[in-house]
Subunit: 473 residues, 2 copies
């Protein structure tokens, strides 16, 4: 008998699952119906800053697979259709066509929840004013770009014409200095805006320890991006036309022609919560290793709406990231399609850049380690991306945490220039394998003068960590 | 009672050992005497191609620590002093001062052998002619540079003046297309020579499988480097002035103003062999995990004169590489100094480049796997260094070998452009940890559009390898 798979959400997790399930089972065995409330399917949200900043010319370049392409593979993807209710015992979802308003129920044998994340949008005065933008979806990105284009072409705003000196196109305030915040700061700088980043914490990139965040702060200063720490936004000020004019904190007001919110996201689990599905401490769905929603044999979930197991701390964490969503989708699709695959967990790897500055982290920060009761040593070293004598050798700071006594690697943070960020992969694999820093000192990493000093910076950090573990005994 | 450590060889392994031993034991406890027959200490031989090619301006940039700096740390480093005999039972070495010819004996309590490698120099007619150069030591590099400078300034050779179009400075023939060969080809191309590389095998880079070597061949063609495969050199032809004029193979003659030998090296173990120390099948010294020469409690050896354990195949291999020599030295110095450290082995990682082309390998090639009785599957994928839509995304080919049945990773080879080579480190750590390709598909590697597609190329290869392992069952 032909089964029906329903997928909620037409982006990475949902559509990867649908595609992989389709690879394993043909339409005669498995009907696949997917619902997406937005205008776009299977796109790279991570690419939005580069599209806004002009590195990527056209929106469609960010779309990995269009609705038409999905339909050509016998996946009945219905766009602009929102799932408004999930009836678990009845095995059906209620949907609303966002164009016509028509509602209907669709039954399922198997269900995949890939509802993604919703941006954190604090209930501040003026938060909904024209000119205030989130950048979570491609629709958001389009709205921001439309807003910027209007600013840049509309003499009425008093903004100088395009092509003028940096900063001349207007003033942008970015709220939040996490990945999205710093990437949007770069994008707006590249686009010619004067950029101020308001950050609630003392340093940007709270996913790093503050000492490493300080390096990012200094580098952003050097790029001409004003970064204000300990800045709690209290209101968005608007002009007589209702448009944003400034961002207010307890201490100051920052004039703004455009405001980008990069405060972060939380799991979009409204439907799941209403349906009584199990949620974790971060509000995300809880799954088993096969990405099945715990306690539910025929419901899977993946992507930005689930919590993931952190293999280093043993805790559930919320890490909305496209690469995880794709892996989840792949695993879910294999299982739904009658195969077998698992997602064992993450180690918390993330990389980013602000202009030429590269930022990377994996594993635990100092405060993460303390929170789970781990005692650790911490070392920080300076080295270079290439042999010191080779042209283009750029400085790099590597911080490494190791457990006391056992010497087990706990985390690595890197701030540097070209060649810095992806070095974190060495530590990501070592964390996955449970390596000690002593074992890491013997790692046979690629060496040639254009690529690394004779001791790779990660190995130098490991050597120093070994000494620190011994000294702490 | 004060002990005396004697070190034979003043480069990476020997002097790293001496320095580390000195860190652990002061001169009142340990006297350190080191002998080096050349003019330079602790230098980066790997940097020679970049010095010859002009990327590195001055020879001294390649010297990590000069004899004076070593002496300032109470290491009695005697330059231009050759050890001519090793008397193991008598615990002494005989040395000759290469300037004065004076000979003497020096006793030791502990001995470190870091005699390095000697270039393979086949007994061809004309091999010793002026204009034929090895590039193994800094002395060799200086001789080559002197020869090139003479060519470029001496009108008598008929060579056009410096600054003329590429190829106009003269014709260079490089014999051998391994790491040194291809790096010297780049160096001579950058210096303005017309470059021909003669290779005994069918494809350059025999450390790769031939299908990956072919990609290197094509890229070198594209750079204007002529690479001739299956070319066995039979003679070096000289002119009436005795200088090199051409390189002859069985089939052809290649005109040459300068010839660089990059045929490879073998362990320099003349002393060790005469002293009856244990040598392996590749002619290198055999050590235990603490880098102690097998069966000898007070003699250690490291660097290009030893064989190393390949952790993937379980066999001893000969891999002369600066990064191993430095690690060996560190381990030896710790043990000599009363500490404890081991060198567990290698996985055979190597990276190189020819202009913008990056080349990397780790683990076993197909023929290595067959030689040790492993059955394997092999997959090759094409991907990009960054998200496909991000500027500068460059193509990359990744080949992956996995063991049949178990799915254990056996090896990875990568040929690509910027961002390709150091990705091999992911596989190097995974090999060290004994990971399966299935476990690799879940690796939490750094992802952001400027650094990687959402599935890193190594993960794409791992996914394909998983499928191949299953299909082969």
């Amino acid at each position: 008998m032909r089964e029906r798979l329903v997928v909620i959400g037409g982006d990475a997790a949902g559509m990867s699952a649908a595609s992989q399930a389709r690879r394993l089972k043909g339409p005669e065995e498995l009907e696949i119906v997917a619902f997406e409330r937005g205008h776009f399917s299977s796109y790279s949200a991570c690419g939005i800053p580069y599209w806004v900043g002009g590195d990527v010319a056209a929106r469609d370049e960010l779309i990995a697979r269009s609705p038409r392409e999905h339909r050509a593979r016998d996946i009945d993807l219905r766009m602009r259709t929102e799932v408004t209710e999930l009836d678990v015992p009845g095995q059906r979802v209620r949907t609303r066509d966002l164009e016509s308003g028509a509602e209907s129920w669709t039954g399922f044998d198997k269900l995949v929840i890939g509802t993604g994340a919703q941006p954190v949008r604090p209930p501040l005065p003026g938060i909904d004013a024209p000119g205030v933008h989130g950048v979570q979806t491609l629709d958001d990105g389009q709205a921001l770009l439309d807003s910027l284009t209007a600013l840049e072409t509309d003499g009425a705003t008093g903004v100088p014409p395009a092509g003028a000196r940096p900063g001349a196109r207007g003033r942008a305030v970015v709220v939040g200095a996490g990945y999205i915040g710093v990437e949007m700061a770069e994008a707006l700088l590249n686009r010619g805006y004067e950029v101020t980043v308001l950050n609630r914490g003392p340093q940007p990139m709270a996913t790093l320890d503050p000492d490493m965040g300080r390096l990012v702060h200094e580098a952003m200063d050097g790029l001409g991006i004003t970064t204000v720490g300990d800045a709690e936004v209290t209101a968005i000020r608007t002009g007589s036309d209702g448009r944003v004019r400034a961002v207010a904190t307890a201490d100051a007001e920052y004039p703004a022609d455009v405001v980008v919110l990069g405060i972060g996201v939380r799991p979009e689990t409204t439907l799941a919560r209403a349906a009584g599905l199990p949620l974790g401490g971060h509000g995300g769905l809880l799954t088993d290793l096969a990405m099945r929603v715990r306690g539910h044999g025929n419901i899977w979930a993946g992507g930005d709406c689930v919590e993931v197991l952190d293999l280093v701390s043993g805790r559930e964490r919320y890490i909305p990231l496209g690469t995880h969503a794709n892996k989840h989708g792949q695993v879910i699709g294999s299982n739904v399609g009658g195969g077998y695959a698992t997602f064992p967990g993450v180690v918390g790897t993330a990389v980013s850049k602000v202009c030429a500055l590269e930022i990377a982290r994996t594993g635990l920060r100092e405060k993460d380690a303390r929170e789970v009761g781990l005692r650790y040593v911490s070392v920080t070293i300076e080295s270079t991306s290439r042999a010191g004598y080779y042209p283009g050798a750029a400085p790099m700071t590597v911080k490494m945490l190791a457990e006391r006594r056992t010497g087990r690697l706990l985390g690595v943070q890197i701030v540097g220039r070209e060649g810095a960020a992806k070095r974190v992969d060495i530590a990501a694999v070592a964390l996955t394998a449970g390596m000690t820093v002593e074992a890491m000192t013997a790692l046979d990493l690629g060496y040639a003068p254009p690529f690394s000093p004779v001791w790779d910076p990660v190995l130098i950090a490991a050597r120093k960590a070994v000494a620190a573990v011994r000294a702490a005994e």
